[in-house]
Symmetry: C2
Subunit: 164 residues, 2 copies
Amino acid sequence: MAKKRSRRHRAAPLRRKAATGSSSRSAISLDVLEGHLGYFARRLQVRVFQDFIRTLKRINISPAQFSVLVVIGANRGLSQAELAATLGIERARLVRLLHRLEERGFVQRLRSSADGRRHALQLTPQGRTTLARAKILAARHESQLIRKLGAERHAMLLRALRYP
Amino acid sequence: MAKKRSRRHRAAPLRRKAATGSSSRSAISLDVLEGHLGYFARRLQVRVFQDFIRTLKRINISPAQFSVLVVIGANRGLSQAELAATLGIERARLVRLLHRLEERGFVQRLRSSADGRRHALQLTPQGRTTLARAKILAARHESQLIRKLGAERHAMLLRALRYP
DNA sequence: CGCAATTGTTGTCGAGGTCAACAATAGCTG
DNA sequence: CAGCTATTGTTGACCTCGACAACAATTGCG
């Protein structure tokens, strides 16, 4: 509720000069950050997710939602604990992710007959359809990424990032 | 305020068996996630940040705070806009980061005489001391990371992640 | 002067990570 | 079998962080 913002439509700023102007700073040093893997991993991850979100905006699927749909789709009957462990997220977090996906009619939670505590997760037909479309868009996103990074660096990063 | 949680000190669970037990699932497929750089970048970044936070917990410096202190320390007189652009974060976000660091006595914002809009950022003596200690701990964190990943992969990742 | 841009700032929203606590269920083990 | 313990899903609360919108003060020009 109360979602309507005024949205004044400010005419796109024309960016008159280049940068700040006053500062004659040519290069700003990152100092020891240059040696920290986490810093660059974060930068890359943010950039990639921004592009992912932009590319899948039309079907409104976030990176986290995509990963959940993909893994459920490829492993029918998974329990929430297994799924959370696989994706490296908290069970509590997954509960809320699944809420949304269930609301939207993509996922079903079925009580396991063998173990009354577990939920067997599976996609609905609509979930499968959405996942198929999401995969196409995600592949497009990855292609854009390959184009931006260069195929060699992309392949190298994927190989090095993936745990053997 | 209201920081005291009950923290009941539950005796460390003994972890009797290994895993779930019921599920005979040997390997859970990641399907197309295997080809998505963003997924693995995210996983790595989260792991690395967790270790960073753990290692710097004693001085209570987060990765974001560390990056801010490092760049200010190496580029005295920087403006907030320049700093935000350098680190790839929003100006609005930086404002709140600097609030905390100023409260804690690590950073000073001085009005620029040349340009009344800008703040010239610099570390206080206490900020410099804390940064020095943080760098030592951060280096220790990075060493642990190198040990975990292997020196070759670490070097390869750093090289590939850093934009040339 | 007057208008547009920049800078710092605040508010708000939503996504995510973290931790504590709990009910229901399952599985041992004495 | 009873009783204890672990697991599973769930909720609540808190905090960080990215993204926008809006604004006041200031600067820079045409």
